[in-house]
Amino acid sequence: MSIVIEPPRSSKPKRTNWEKYGWMYMRASGVLLVILIFGHLFTNLWLGEGIKAIDFAFVGGKWSDPFWQVWDLLMLWLALIHGTNGMRTIVNDYAERVAVRKTLTYVLWATCAALIVLGTLVIFTFDPCPANGTIENLPSFCPAK
């Protein structure tokens, strides 16, 4: 005869375990962020004239290129979700009262969502050739130039 020992927690309804996916996300996004962030710093601060090259035209030029749009979009989403999830971890550590924890976590994700929406809008709706722009500040491809 076999002995059956009921696992004490088996009665608990099984929910999706977000902690596991959170843990995996922190590592996967971390690896990608190393490439994205250092690639970003390298092109902006080192290549060509280095930091002196950064002006309106430089940014406008980058955001007219689908390659950099995708690059910055990935950086924005990955870093914001990564940072917010990291802050959630710290909130879980320090907030002892449930109401405080839930409030802070809600504020974190709401802020994250707002920043992601705003950032995404900026990346895709950015006008590199504004009609009221000073000519010498515009990127070279603008018709006004």
Binding site: S2, P8, E19, M24
Partner: protein
């Protein structure tokens, strides 16, 4: 040399100052440091100094110890800010030009002086089902290859002293985390080829308060008096959960 010591072969002795964290729930006072000057031998351990205090200076000093030889796991305490067994810490190995600070382990409720309430620690231990679960009823012992045994050899050494769990900053925060010791003892069975409930234990540790709260601080590995690679064991359990099997 003979003039230095009373007799040939005598063990040198010296005076050390111990600051011991005192607390008594009944007197209503805050926990406080009390210092004792103790004459000790070069071969003495912190536990011997505590005995000297208790037996010769202040009989009210309260601490746990049983085997006095690093086997039972009852005298884990914070010695100079590090979790150690008092019975395995030689005084001469500490910086004796400075006072030695002895406190209860952190993260568990202090009952008196160096004695803490271990129940939350044992609860987490019980929750991982730290016993062999096998459906067969063998007529002889269950055999295992040396390779299969090697997988969990390290985690069989645990003496449940709580030095690891009470050194973990995640455990300090709210005491809800299972803690390294429970994970070590789950590891002991998860990777045992004779056991059949690895999935159950992996499922238990794949919890909000389970292995994912570990932040790889390595405090547990540093604290373990048995030299168990605690952080490595936790990482192996994480990997097993990701794989879905032991």
């Amino acid at each position: 040399m003979a003039t230095e010591f009373e007799e040939m072969g005598a063990v040198p002795s010296f005076t050390v100052t111990l600051f011991v964290r005192r607390y008594n729930q009944e007197d209503g006072l805050e926990a406080r440091w009390q210092d004792f000057d103790v004459q000790v031998h070069g071969t003495d351990r912190v536990l011997d100094a505590l005995h000297k205090i208790k037996w010769e200076i202040d009989g009210s000093l309260t601490f746990r110890r049983s085997c006095a030889h690093g086997v039972c796991g009852s005298d884990a305490m914070r010695i100079n800010g590090r979790n150690r067994l008092a019975c395995k810490t030689l005084i001469k190995d500490l910086d004796i030009t400075q006072p030695i600070y002895v406190e209860p382990i952190k993260g568990l409720e202090v009952e008196k002086d160096l004695v803490v309430n271990m129940e939350p620690f044992y609860k987490a231990y019980r929750d991982v089902q730290p016993f062999l679960i096998a459906s067969d009823k063998p007529a002889k012992e269950r055999l295992q290859s040396p390779e299969d045994r090697e997988r969990f050899d390290d985690t069989t050494k645990c003496i449940l002293c709580a030095a690891c769990t009470s050194s973990c900053p995640v455990f300090w925060t709210d005491g809800q985390y299972f803690g390294p010791a429970a994970i070590v003892n789950a590891h002991r069975f998860i990777f045992d080829s004779r056991d059949e409930a690895a999935e159950v234990r992996l499922d238990i540790l794949n919890d909000k308060e389970g292995v994912w709260r570990c932040r790889t601080t390595f405090n547990c590995t540093e604290a373990c008096p048995r030299g168990i690679q605690v952080t490595k064991a936790i990482a192996e359990v994480k990997q097993a959960i990701l794989r879905g099997r032991a």
